[in-house]
Symmetry: C2
Subunit: 243 residues, 2 copies
Amino acid sequence: MALQFTSEQRLDDGVLERAFTLGEIPGILWTLGSAPAPLILLGHPGGLHQMYPRLAGRARHSAAEGFAAATIELPGSGERPRSAAAGRARADLRRALEAGEPVDDAIIDALILPLVEKAVPEWQTALDALLSLPEISGPVGYSGGVISIGIRLAVVEPRISAAVLFAGSFVPRAMFEEARQVTIPLHVLLQWDDEGNDRQAALDLFDAFGTREKTLHANLGGHTGVPQFAGDAAAQFFTRHLK
Amino acid sequence: MALQFTSEQRLDDGVLERAFTLGEIPGILWTLGSAPAPLILLGHPGGLHQMYPRLAGRARHSAAEGFAAATIELPGSGERPRSAAAGRARADLRRALEAGEPVDDAIIDALILPLVEKAVPEWQTALDALLSLPEISGPVGYSGGVISIGIRLAVVEPRISAAVLFAGSFVPRAMFEEARQVTIPLHVLLQWDDEGNDRQAALDLFDAFGTREKTLHANLGGHTGVPQFAGDAAAQFFTRHLK
């Protein structure tokens, strides 16, 4: 399946931003120049429109380091059709959090596992299309959350050579087993005071990753408070591994 | 008290290495050029001779980033007089570790607290002498272990502006309280598989630090396996805060 570009604009730092669709999935591609560049896939929690300022910031940061960047909408987010089951799981999660109760494994499984099942093949299809463009050469990195999507991609997609994973979402137990199978270099970001995140689970997950090169960067602050210097360190990680 | 330089050599990258004594305490100073430079105090577990290759490597790395670097011998290490109490505590520690028993708080207290009490004023005296040299201007950073010495220095010594602390030694309970009083920026290195280190205690200590800017970098590997890129990240931390 090929990308259909639907609009483009030149950002003031010279980055070319193009919206596209891949079948029914909307996405955005950022490139700087026409020489073939390595690619960073920008993960996010869903909702391209809402996430746009942060995604564009990360893409411009990547472009400044010589990387193309791309993202696609997640299943059930933005303009894409909602899943009734995911809606129920989200409502259950909200109830548990508001009641201050521990979040049941079954809720996390219902929320995350179908999302991973559906999203990962979509990212792979997007990768097929992106790598067929002359501006993109690979190698490819994955950056961001949903961390379970990043883990699955790292295991099943051999074209992904390195990943920056953001420990900011619930992780089903089954993903801990999958984490042991990851062998690519990992750089894990953890916000130490992330309200929506279980710190101990994030540390356990870091421990579980099977790769021989893994680094955890924990910084003070909440979910959206990743400091600028932590973004710089993640960019340096990709420069070490993708160039 | 002034430094007495006892020998000097020019390293092949142009760094001037001078051995000195400060009263009875031996030390080493590394400088590059004569323009006043900020200073990094290089902490270590004791034994300048044995630690020399690693200390010199860190000093040359620092010099390449525009920092002077200096270190002094710890009380009871190298050529300095041994303390009978510390010897007993070390023997108790060795027995506990060999027996696979949990290490009693009293052993850790006996090993570390008198060392901190004695070493910290010595580092402060060294700082007086170093800052009186024309080649050294400040600001000053502390880098390394013994982590309890770094914590105490960060609390009591206002001339230290930032610290890279290596979580690789036992930490007395009392130091957790002191950690809450640290307000300077911290960059904490943790080797995830450090045999001689309690990972959970290191994470608890990171949590306890009272400063608003703290970053934890955890890397795979044992005590001496800090990867090159982690050293680079620590250097960048000092560049952000001391320049």
